[in-house]
């Protein structure tokens, strides 16, 4: 798969922490905390599944990871830098290093599948002539080469999801965050997409996938699991805590 590697990658040495949460809490407005006392770290190049019942706070945790939200308290380090106190103007540079598959896809409705997939590259300032081939290849890879000019409204749910995934991975992000990425595709395509994630992971991308699908979790042998319940991390082994108790995590 051809892809674009943004500048600034390789900040951390292989095996270092790409994400660190320390006593993180998130509260919307004046209500109760949606996330409480989250402390964990994710190593660079890891493959993580985030599970938990509906309302456990999975999407909120993902929002913190893809910088759509700042925590109410605690410390978050991303790519080795504190993003809680980071000036707003520095956030775009970090966001370009993160790929996101939204649960509701968030495709731009008036753009074609091609233009939706090309969006991260255009945001990064890639020349038009340089993005044609990788975008076309990526669309073919997710089985949508023939639908490049189709707008999201004319695509099925599964096709939209594949466009969303293609968009998230086209820029070869250092961190890929996916919220239920295989919820609307058939098992064969789910397997294919997971293979894509696995391939990216092998190239060094850290993957975090929120899912209910236990079959999906078991299909990636080297993956680790984060389990959330009512806003707190259930971590009986302590394997994912920061600092990790086990040296290899």
């Amino acid at each position: 798969m051809a892809g674009y590697r943004p500048s600034g990658s390789g900040l951390l040495n292989s095996g270092g922490s790409i994400v660190q949460f320390d006593n993180v809490g998130l509260r919307y407005g004046t209500g109760a905390e949606t996330l409480s006392d989250l402390s964990f770290s994710l190593r660079q190049g890891g493959f993580y599944f985030l599970t938990g019942p509906s309302g456990a706070g999975k999407t909120s945790l993902l929002k913190l990871l893809y910088l759509a939200q700042r925590p109410s308290r605690g410390l978050i380090k991303l790519f080795g830098e504190d993003i809680v106190t980071m000036p707003r103007k520095r956030l775009p540079g970090f966001r370009r290093r993160i790929g996101v598959v939204f649960q509701d896809f968030r495709l731009v409705p008036h753009l074609s599948a091609f233009d939706n997939v090309a969006l991260p590259l255009r945001v990064a300032g890639v020349e038009e002539s340089d993005l044609q081939t990788p975008v076309a290849e990526m669309l073919s890879w997710v089985g949508l080469g023939h639908r490049a000019t189709a707008r999201p409204a004319t695509l099925s749910g599964g096709e939209q999801q594949r466009v969303a995934i293609a968009r998230a991975v086209i820029a070869r992000p250092e961190l890929l965050v996916a919220d239920e990425p295989t919820g609307n595709v058939d098992p064969e395509m789910a397997k294919r997409l997971l293979h894509l994630f696995d391939g990216l992971n092998k190239l060094g991308t850290t993957i975090v996938v929120a899912t209910h699908d236990l079959h999906l979790i078991s299909s990636i042998g080297s993956s680790e699991m984060l389990r959330l319940d009512r806003g707190t991390l259930l971590d009986p082994t302590g394997a994912l805590r920061h600092p990790p108790k086990r040296a290899d995590v």
Partner: protein
């Protein structure tokens, strides 16, 4: 692949969904520009009229010898002219020929009216230096010595109310132009905010992909600039048509004063520059509005 160009290319102009002329903003700007150009043209035309009034009547006066006896009138006119020609500060003194006086009176007396037995005053046009103009009273006294029937009419004195009116109208036109500029800016602010609300979901997606505020603002800036360009030139075209029509009608009147309110080339250049200024104003206002609004997002 090469990266590093920190702005969207022209291919991304379509990131914002609506067609360029789908909203009311271009038409609102067209109306604003139409009124602005008319107000500015009025101000510039009145400026021309004021200048011409100043040139043709400023520091000038008319001396009338109002004497029923033709011989005495002629003697006094000669004496007065001779005095004026040797008076320092009088830069020009010209006896208006009787035929020219008759022409001036024809609208009031009818054809040949001035050739009747009606005593027509002798007229002398004089032009004075500013210092001599300021000492009109001493000139009157000197004239009274040699021509007791002489009356000095200070042109500026009887044109003062007209000059005052023209001055007021110029200020009014200038005020209207400023008000229109303010209204245009306010329109752009409202349009930019509305566009932000319309495209909020797209902006959020762009932000989460790492688009900077300046990148996003540039999209809106370009859209609003195109709208302002369209509206501006439609307004200018309509106003130009109206101005040409009015100019044609004024020309048909044959009035010197109204005719002097015509627009020279420089004024037309200024009028054509108004839409360009409007586009720049719209871009700056849109950019500021959008950047402020985006600054409130994460």
């Amino acid at each position: 692949m090469k990266a590093g160009v920190r702005q969207f290319g022209t291919a991304d102009a379509r990131l914002l969904s609506e067609g360029r002329l789908s909203g009311p903003m271009p038409w609102v700007i067209a109306i604003m520009m139409f009124l602005t150009v008319l107000a500015a043209a009025a101000g510039l035309g009145l400026g021309g009229a004021a200048d011409r009034l100043d040139t043709t009547t400023g520091n000038r006066a008319s001396v009338q010898i109002v004497e029923p006896n033709p011989d005495s009138r002629e003697t006094q006119a000669r004496e007065a002219l001779a005095l004026l020609q040797r008076t320092p500060g009088v830069t020009s003194a010209r006896r208006v020929p009787p035929a020219e006086v008759a022409d001036l009176l024809e609208p009031w007396l009818g054809p040949g009216g001035a050739q009747s037995d009606l005593p027509i005053p002798a007229l002398i046009d004089i032009e004075l230096s500013p210092s001599a103009y300021a000492q009109m009273d001493s000139l009157r006294s000197a004239l009274a010595q040699v021509a007791p029937a002489a009356r000095v009419d200070d042109n500026a004195q009887w044109l003062a109310p007209l000059a005052g009116l023209i001055g007021s109208l110029r200020w009014l036109a200038g005020g209207l132009v400023l008000l229109m500029i303010a209204a245009t800016a306010a329109t752009v602010v409202l349009a930019a905010r509305a566009a932000l609300d319309t495209h909020r979901s797209t902006i959020e997606v762009l932000h989460l992909m790492g688009a900077t505020d300046v990148q996003v603002a540039r999209l809106f800036q370009r859209r609003i600039a195109l709208d302002a360009l369209f509206g501006g030139f439609v307004g200018l075209a309509a106003a130009t048509a109206v101005l040409l029509l009015i100019g044609n009608r004024i020309g048909a009147l044959g009035s010197d004063l109204l005719g002097s309110a015509g627009l020279p080339l420089l004024s037309w250049v200024l009028l054509v520059a108004l839409p360009v200024f409007g586009v720049l104003l719209a871009m700056v206002v849109a950019r500021t509005t959008i950047l402020r609004a985006l600054g409130r997002m994460l």
